[in-house]
């Protein structure tokens, strides 16, 4: 399924130039802030930044940035035809691009959460949050890849999902947790450390994460299969 050439090109697009700096800014900001607060305060204030800011905001933002930059610009300006006019499986292209986005999300999103959580002590809790972040990062990157394959406004659409649906409405209505990628991850992390919240039931969280991931990557590939070249608009 994987195509090494596509993955290499996607990685080059992701790491090339300024976007890499933007991607790197998130973990630096997060770890720096948590370390600073941990050094200056006692109690649990430093850790609270992670479930309050790192997990619900930085992680999905990294996933959005990664998923949209491996696919978004090429679909946006139509230059993806250079990749598509080859005897290469479309699902292979989607999978390769997703793997690259996933790698970036884990390295720049989930790993910093682990590092920052370790800074605040309590290794079990840190690993629990990391597992949650890794699961959610996997699902997010597949979901946002699918969104990038559909609309040119992928970034804004994904942001609205994260900020308004999962964030704003998720805080108001607890039922949103059943349809929230971040909450599924937390529920899975809860199995490791009970300090994490317990928003939905476990089988649902696992099944939903798997289904959204697989469906997201498959759907992105399917959209590429029907990619239509249009004139300038």
């Amino acid at each position: 399924m994987m195509n090494a050439t596509i993955a290499k090109l996607a990685a080059q697009a992701l790491l090339g130039r300024r976007r890499f700096i933007l991607l790197l800014a998130f973990p630096v900001l997060l770890i720096g802030l948590v370390a600073l607060v941990a050094a200056l305060t006692d109690g649990d204030a430093a850790f609270q930044i992670l479930p309050g800011l790192g997990y619900p905001l930085v992680l999905p933002l990294v996933a959005i940035l990664a998923a949209s930059s491996v696919l978004g610009p090429e679909v946006d300006d139509g230059s993806i035809v250079y990749l598509l006019s080859k005897p290469v499986s479309r699902h292979g292209i989607a999978t390769s691009k997703w793997v690259v986005a996933l790698g970036a999300t884990l390295v720049a999103g989930a790993l910093p959460i682990l590092v920052a959580a370790l800074v605040t002590g309590d290794t079990t809790r840190a690993f629990a949050l990391f597992v949650g972040a890794a699961v959610a990062g996997t699902t997010y990157s597949a979901l946002f890849l699918a969104v990038s394959a559909v609309t040119r406004h992928a970034v804004i659409a994904s942001l609205m999902f994260v900020l308004i649906w999962e964030g704003l409405l998720g805080n108001l209505f607890s039922g949103v947790a059943w349809l929230s990628v971040g909450q599924w991850g937390l529920r899975i992390g809860h199995e490791i450390s009970s300090e994490l919240p317990d928003p939905a039931n476990l089988p649902w969280a696992i099944a939903a994460s798997v289904v959204v991931t697989v469906a997201g990557v498959f759907f992105a590939g399917d959209r590429l299969r029907s990619f239509t070249l249009r004139g300038e608009d």
Binding site: L22, L61, S69
Partner: protein
Amino acid sequence: MSESTTPGTGRSGVIHDLGYRRYDGPREGTGAIARTLFLTGLRHAYGLERSGKSKVMPFLLLGMSLLPAAIIVGVVVLTGLRSLPVTYAGYTSQTQLLVSLFAAAQAPVLFSRDLRHRSIVLYAARPLSSAAFGFVRWLSMSVALLAFMVIPTLLMFVGALLAGLDKSDQLSDLYKAVVLQVFLAALVAGITGLVSSVSLRRGFAVVGSVMVLIVLTGVVTAVQNIAQSQGSDSVSVGAGLFSPWSLYSGLGNAWDAGTRVPVSVDGAWVPAYVLVLLLVAAGCVLGLVARFRKVGSR
């Protein structure tokens, strides 16, 4: 295509008089150009005069920020409350996510497209300098943002008056809210404009703006709350200088406009807040003007 070339008699050509005439009537000055540019920019920020698809996002966000206001008005009218449950300035602060998303989503429309497609050189060929172009764009964005905040505010105000709440109270609240919104709009338009004029890919511009408007605000709020709980009030208030929304909330708090902050802003902090806000806004506008001047002169 080629007009009358006669073989044998050597090359010859003729330019036909097609009746085009030189225009020597009165011409509009730079002011009129700037005015037109401003209005076009303002309309484009809401997707007007653009494709149907580009209207979706701004109006969806506007609709979402109007919905709670409409619900509040309904509740006040039905239950006969004697005051609004939230002040006008407080409402803008509570819908800051929507305002930020609107700014992040629409700034690339005004600031990236002309640079990315190099159509800026067409504007630069007109009497209006590209520096003035950048400034007018900023003005369009500011007014578009202001409208985005003022419209729900006005809806609540009209609802409050219809519900028979005290007119002078509401007017003074409204006045404070609008003044704060003007400052905020100028600042946010400057920030998102600068981000979008530097990062020309729409996706990156949006994420960059979101970083400044939402992530930074989240960081500042976290620091403010932690500092407050640790008892270091001055750190809490000082941290508020570092994000647009904490500046807004801080000033609203100092002016008694009903925005919430962990530690109230008073004394010498108030001019500091005003100064930082104005300096950052002015800095962004200057940066924007410099950016457009540089790109337009190439």
